[in-house]
């Protein structure tokens, strides 16, 4: 039984003459891991920003778990259960790792300290919990970024390049964590350039090109699709061709 | 009719004033575009220019006009040397670079004002001139002081020269490229340090030149800078931050507003209205009334 958790309908975002997201209709099923790919400038991060309230869409709607969240402020969307990370994983400065976790606005009923400890243990960074967060390695920062989102206990997490710039061993660990979270029921949508990473983890892939949602399917289906090849070959980033 | 005459005289006075404000405003707007910094010292360059006029003019036969080219060159050089400092504090991995840049120019302004106050005392001084002591009859509208007319003419001429440099020369193109996108300009091989310094130097020179003329019209005082900082802010807020053509209009609007409120409303309200307008304009239209400024 699949049930749509996050649905956009004709989502459009323009910047002056540029249409960054052009009527994107896309549904993510509860419990799946969805990859979101596309050449540079195809509107992936804009799509995340429109979904999570950082941009107000010009047209179209976003529905999460049956609730219309179009145009909501981003902190409300986060509290509703849609978490996200950013491409650049910068911890909040002058704070320890644990304080970074405690900064997250959790519901009053939650024991934040207990939850922070659990998550830090889960991510294997509890040994540096009370160290200054700015001293962490790049990979640890990515883990902290993920950890902070988990404090919200979100049903759905949008990840913007979760393993970019991380050494392969730690990248594998991050993927392992994502799989485990997925097994526990968390839904993911992941922007990722590394096709090897994507292949290992996603159930389905959506492809954006020039702001439009052109293809959706399994990794194999998408990687052999002519439109996808054309989208990538048509752009300057030849090295990013899937497969 | 007397009142019509007063009105037309006020309008012409306002237009004449606007000419010199524009020269202050364009440089300021350019620096905002290039360095992405609001320079709190802008009014102090006006003050320094006026003081240069008051101090140097007696040495050159009591002719303030002769100080003008000197002021431009001197403050161009001052600006060229100051720019790297501002560039330095707003880049690199220091915390809160924007804050650091603003606070730095704030400190610079305090330093300039305080130094002049300490060295020359609080009194205002005249900037003498013999060449421009008469009046000019303008087509049946009345007689206007020569100094104001010349000031406006010089204002317009320097604006034209400035625009020519910016849009018709290699250096100007480089500066505009930096204002557009510093990183791309760097990739195109533009010497960022050099052209930022030139831009800041031109701005400092223009503003100080404007200061000499403002000193000729009114006088020079160590505390006068604040008012012109406010004027500069008003102009770029009205035009939209970083939007150059809008400055020409907002400079003229400012000159007119100042001349008309002084005549019809009374002096004490002018500043309240001015600061109030800056505040309200920023709240309702941060992108500027006249065009598309960039919103940070």
């Amino acid at each position: 039984m699949s049930e749509t958790l996050l649905q956009t309908d004709g989502l459009t975002k323009r910047f002056g003459a540029l249409t960054a997201n052009d009527e994107i209709t896309l549904g993510v099923d509860r419990g799946e891991i969805r990859g979101l790919i596309g050449p540079n400038g195809s509107g992936k991060t804009t799509f995340f920003n429109s979904l999570t309230g950082f941009y107000t869409p010009d047209e179209g709607t976003v529905t999460f778990d049956g609730t219309d969240i179009t145009g909501w402020e981003s902190h409300r969307i986060a509290r509703e259960g849609v978490g996200r990370t950013f491409q650049i994983a910068a911890p909040f400065g002058n704070m320890t790792v644990r304080q970074n976790m405690l900064a997250v606005q959790t519901p009053k009923s939650v024991d934040e300290h207990e939850r922070a400890q659990e998550i830090l243990e889960f991510l294997d960074i509890d040994h540096i919990a009370d160290d200054d967060a700015s001293g962490m390695s790049g990979g640890q920062k990515k883990l902290l970024g993920l950890g902070r989102v988990l404090m919200l206990d979100p049903e759905c997490i949008l990840l913007d390049e979760p393993t970019a710039g991380v050494n392969p061993a730690l990248a594998d660990r991050i993927l392992e964590h994502l799989r485990e979270l997925n097994d526990r029921g968390t839904t993911f949508m992941i922007i990722e350039h590394d096709m090897d990473v994507l292949k290992q983890i996603v159930d389905t892939v959506s492809v954006l090109d020039q702001g439009r949602h052109i293809v959706q399917g399994t990794f194999e289906e998408v990687s052999t699709d002519d439109r996808v090849r054309e989208a990538y070959l048509g752009s300057a980033d030849d090295d990013e061709v899937p497969v | 009719m007397v009142s019509t005459e007063l009105l037309s005289q006020s309008i012409i006075n306002g237009l004449l004033l606007g000419g010199i404000y524009v020269t202050v405003g364009v440089g300021f707007a350019l620096v905002f575009g290039v360095l992405e910094i609001i320079d709190f010292a802008v009014g102090e360059y006006v003050m320094l220019g006026a003081f240069t006029g008051a101090i140097v003019a007696p040495m050159v036969g009591g002719e303030g006009l002769l100080v003008v080219p000197l002021a431009f060159v001197a403050f161009f050089l001052v600006g060229v040397v100051i720019q790297p400092f501002i560039h330095h504090v707003t880049t690199g991995d220091r915390p809160m670079p924007l804050l650091m840049g603003l606070v730095f120019t704030f400190g610079l302004a305090t330093f300039m004002r305080g130094s002049i106050l300490t060295i020359f005392g609080p009194n205002t001084r005249n900037v003498p001139t013999n060449a421009l002591s008469g009046g000019i009859e303008i087509g049946g509208l009345g007689t206007f002081p020569e100094v104001r007319v010349v000031t406006a003419v010089v204002g317009v001429l320097s604006l034209v020269a400035f625009m020519y440099y910016l849009y018709r020369t290699t250096g100007g193109t480089a500066i505009r490229a930096i204002a557009e996108d510093r990183d791309i300009a760097r990739l195109m091989g533009v010497n960022i340090n050099r052209y930022q310094s030139i831009a800041y130097g031109v701005y400092a020179g223009l503003t100080a030149t404007g200061g000499v003329f403002i000193g000729l019209i009114y006088s020079a005082g160590p505390g006068m800078g604040l008012q012109y900082t406010a004027f500069a802010f008003f102009m770029i807020v009205l035009a939209g931050l970083g939007y150059l053509p809008g400055i020409i209009i907002s400079g003229i609007v400012l000159g007119l507003a100042q001349s008309l409120t002084a005549v019809y409303l009374g002096g004490e309200l002018v500043f309240f209205v001015l600061f109030g307008m800056i505040y309200v304009l920023l709240l309702v239209r941060p992108e500027g009334l006249l065009g598309k400024g960039e919103v940070a």
């Binding site: 978490g83 | 910094i37 915390p95 704030f106 305080g114 130094s115 300490t118 340090n193 050099r194 709240l283």
Partner: protein
């Protein structure tokens, strides 16, 4: 770090800074020292201490919005002045005692800061800085025009026994004002400590400063939190403004609403160390002494201005994290050299 034996002063200081109970001890000892201090000082030095206390509190209040929240309030002094005038108006026009005036000033400025904060805090960066600056200048001009503030004549406060409204206080003297400032300042420091260093609220404030988008995406309502910080910091400035006005008994818009009030708060917080508890304390004492001593020994009150300007520039250039940063070892000799090298590179203009 080495072994126990070769701990340097800096290491010891860092260790001390890191311990919560040490903070409490430090605060307690400081409070006791301050409480007995006026008995050891002459009236002259009590006045100096009183002024230093006030400026520590004011710098800390600016540090809340500017240092912790990262919003450059260039008009913070407006609340110092409005607090002074509201206290005065309540005492003169309504003939109520000082305590009532101060309370009303606090409430008035809370409302004012809320109303001003809603639209103004939507701006950020340079826009916020200019807007607050213009707001403060407009307030000053308004105070010069209005009749109720005394306009350009200024306002004289009632003095003498009974005007304070505090039981057992006769004629409010230096001692009274010293302890008043002490209570306000210690209160401000304690509030800043618990609010910004010891609560989730403070973590959220810093999160907004460092990465507002990321903070929002973690469920943090940045608008609301910024507004709270703004209101709290403005009310504190207003309380100091009211207390100071009653102390100096005569206020004028060109004094209590002067831009130099804001300048001083900023440079004190900056010199000491932005976004820290200790910063405004260190910066407040240093700058206030510089101010007093420069007029005392140089016999010249204006030389303080270029000095403070120079100090701002040097601090921004070489020690952006302030004295606290130097003590923490963030600004060593190597950093200064590196800084100079990078600066020299920017002089490559030919």
């Amino acid at each position: 770090m080495g072994t126990e034996n070769d701990l340097t002063v800096r290491d010891r200081f860092q260790a001390l800074l890191g311990r919560d109970d040490a903070h409490l001890w430090l605060f307690g000892i400081g409070a006791v020292v301050l409480a007995v201090l006026p008995f050891a000082l002459s009236t002259f030095w009590t006045r100096i201490a009183l002024g230093a206390l006030m400026w520590i509190g004011l710098a800390q209040s600016w540090n809340m919005i500017g240092g912790y929240a990262g919003y450059l309030d260039f008009g913070h002094g407006a609340y110092f002045g409005v607090g002074a005038f509201v206290t005065g108006i309540v005492m003169v026009e309504l003939e109520l005692p000082f305590v009532a005036g101060l309370l009303i000033a606090g409430v008035f400025c809370a409302v004012l800061a809320y109303v001003v904060g809603v639209p103004t805090l939507r701006l950020s960066g340079a826009y916020f800085a200019i807007a607050t600056w213009a707001f403060a200048e407009a307030i000053k001009e308004l105070a010069l025009i209005l009749e109720i503030t005394g306009g350009t004549y200024g306002m004289t406060f009632p003095t003498g026994p009974g005007t304070s409204g505090i039981p057992l206080v006769g004629w409010p003297d230096e001692m009274f004002f010293y302890y008043l400032m002490m209570v306000l300042t210690l209160g401000t420091i304690a509030l800043a400590y618990f609010l910004f260093e010891h609560s989730e609220f403070g973590f959220r404030v810093k999160a907004i400063r460092d990465h507002e988008d990321a903070a929002q995406s973690l469920g943090i309502d940045a608008t609301k939190i910024k507004r709270r910080v703004y209101v709290i910091s403005c009310v504190i400035a207003a309380l100091f403004g009211g207390a100071n006005a009653y102390y100096i008994t005569f206020i004028h818009p060109n004094d209590v609403l002067a831009p130099i009030i804001t300048d001083q708060m900023i440079i004190m917080a900056l010199l000491g160390g932005l976004g820290t508890i200790g910063g405004p304390i260190i910066g407040g004492v240093l700058i206030f002494l510089l101010n007093r001593l420069s007029s005392l020994f140089l016999g010249n009150t204006t030389i303080y201005l270029p000095l403070i300007g120079l100090l701002i520039m040097v601090t921004v250039l070489f020690a952006p994290s302030g004295v606290i940063g130097i003590l923490r070892g963030e600004v060593g000799r190597e950093d200064v050299k590196q800084n100079l090298r990078e600066l020299a590179e920017k002089f490559d203009i030919l």
